[in-house]
Symmetry: C2
Subunit: 458 residues, 2 copies
Amino acid sequence: MSESRTSALKYAQDHRERFLEEFKDFVSIASISTDPKNKPEIGKAAEWIADKMHGLGLTNVKVFPTQGHPVVFGEFLTTAPNSNTVLVYGHYDVQPPEPLELWQSGPFTPEQRGENMYARGAADMKGQVLASLNALEAVIRTGKLPVNLKFLIEGEEEIGSPNLEKFIIEHQDLLACDVALNPDTGMLAPDLPTITYALRGLAYFELCVYGPKQDLHSGQYGGVILNPAQALCELIAGMHDAHGRVTLPGFYARVRPLDAEERAELARLPTDESFYLEQTGSPALWGETGYSPTEQVGARPTLEVNGLYSGFTGEGAKTVLPAWAMVKISTRLVPDQDPDEVYIQLSNYLKTNAPKTIRYELTQIVGSRASISDRTSRGVRALEDAMESVWGERPLFRREGGSVPVVNSFKNILGVESVNTGFSLPDDNLHAPNEKQHLPTWYRGIDTFIHFYLNLGG
Amino acid sequence: MSESRTSALKYAQDHRERFLEEFKDFVSIASISTDPKNKPEIGKAAEWIADKMHGLGLTNVKVFPTQGHPVVFGEFLTTAPNSNTVLVYGHYDVQPPEPLELWQSGPFTPEQRGENMYARGAADMKGQVLASLNALEAVIRTGKLPVNLKFLIEGEEEIGSPNLEKFIIEHQDLLACDVALNPDTGMLAPDLPTITYALRGLAYFELCVYGPKQDLHSGQYGGVILNPAQALCELIAGMHDAHGRVTLPGFYARVRPLDAEERAELARLPTDESFYLEQTGSPALWGETGYSPTEQVGARPTLEVNGLYSGFTGEGAKTVLPAWAMVKISTRLVPDQDPDEVYIQLSNYLKTNAPKTIRYELTQIVGSRASISDRTSRGVRALEDAMESVWGERPLFRREGGSVPVVNSFKNILGVESVNTGFSLPDDNLHAPNEKQHLPTWYRGIDTFIHFYLNLGG
């Protein structure tokens, strides 16, 4: 190991106490983005990060106002020639802490118990933001940073980042980079460092089926009218075949097949049948024939019913034949599916299958593509090697079933892939009471980023 | 026509002005049964009827208190030997009048416009109650009543008669009769007098399907869990076949087939395809293959979805994989189906078809059998002849798709069939603003009851 690398790691080790104090200071700020009455705390958290950046000697530090909560930017430019530029993404806002009575210590009164630091935002993701800045500090206080680092820390992630895309579009030059680092995904266990190289896309729809002009008496009219709720159920039932496959015509046409190498890589993940049974409490698993649970969630597209409504849903009995029925349906997409094409596929399915005895209306609500990073790209390799240096073994490569919109924004607007990782654990109670950060993992996270920055230097 | 019959009819004709004044007086009372603040008006309406009975010389007149609104009883016993006893059913309560702004005149300020009297309760069913009492008056003021007449007029029909069955059970001797007359059904057009000889029964269920122990993120888990809403839709979709028949095993086993004579009788009804299209505004009709719309609604059993609920039903998108899904399902039954057997049939269907990847819970909420009267019984013949005397042609025989619980109570507790009729019309706006009674039809109704009472005398 090079001398500068060793010095940086030693610096990080020597300053753990202060890092921890700053961690506690940062998570004491109740920067809840949903609640307008926490606006001052949001401002305080943004300023806290900007001050931290100033203290580290970052340049171009600015708290950008938006229509909502501010975006904090800062950068540390290297003098090394031909250097890479990394854009680190993070957010300083947190989820609301309710229900408060379930917290063992106050959500904004950080308390260390055993190896964990308990506080709202500890893992999601103030701890991750600090790890990336602490790693920078360790490198620049002991040697020379061989890459350009830019930090974009937003304040609206927990409310869907309504102003972020606009900000990225308006500041493309400022944010220009070669690769993005997004430490908001996390790892599967303390001994299983994880790189999330793919995220599913989303196409979300609302479908309304209309029958009679108004609710009817189910006795006086039942028998001559196709019940819109029944028609809707029949349409939904037809959207999967007996093998758990989605029947929309052309749905799988663009789906990138999994090769043997990637399947072998995914098979290393511990997300097997027993994992999902325990996590969900379902009586049994279900899914597309021919794929493992890990593949079913991460690497295959799905269609879900998110909501259903029709007629009378109160206590007891009301003999209504409903005038209409509604379903919220979403498809999770994998490369290279296109949400707008899925809209057309669903439209075509309905055209073919909807009976003439009803009318229907289909609306697309959300559409985002899946994202996937080249597992052999420079950024991914740099992180893979960094993790191997810290843990002594290769990280797991995960495909995440959910969607992280900022990854798409970076891809679409800035043209860069994101390397997604993080040092939160499945039992860290993200979005729940008693959120915590596992500190030994956090320290390894700081070390990982030190290696990552240095690896990207060459 | 016998002299006494002619005199009675003439008496009715001569007293129309007074009958109408009393009609207006009765419908001026806002006897809305749902609203506790109308309790005094309910009491006033009950007393109004009791006073009317006293005035006509009925005996045993009593306003019986119940847990809810009172039941009014009175009887007029004949001295004729071997005479029949008819129990006339009615209700003095009315639906709420809202929305008030849609009424052309006040709901409790009766106004005659053209041939119609507008007021809440005019057709449903204060007018019908008065017709039966006016007919009695005409007969007894001009001659001798050849039957025993008993009147049971309740005050809770519009809220589901919660205390009526208990009252009937406790007063079986008082209510003992040979046939019941229920003038709460109505006729299809002013020139189409109608006898409703059959009503469908009802078996109402709630089915809940459970999957994961809590709502899940549809991205993180979509693909390995059978979505409970999807599972429910598939179960519902399987409940009908391509011919519109219900697939529950054994569902049709006890269904009494229609013979050619009854089908010919039903074919006389004007409830054809264009009738149902106009009434419902549906794009097209639907139903069990091989039956006319009239038969589908009146003489065949059906299964309807009355309500559906699962997951997220608000505005926009929430990517939830719901923990559960619920449906309200009801079956309309015909003779000789048994609601408890239908519960077993539905249970068996679920046992066979529900996948092991979900759990479910089925609850029966309501169960009542269909009712059917012998179209050749003395009571039905007496009414048929009465209508033919008044209109000059045979009445239509209708099977009604809805259920009238009191008909079952009379059958089960008193052991008597009901002859169901009435002089309201489809456009009389029952339960809606601008309810009205068509007065020429109402006068014919009084005449019909005069004939009916006299016909039953022999």
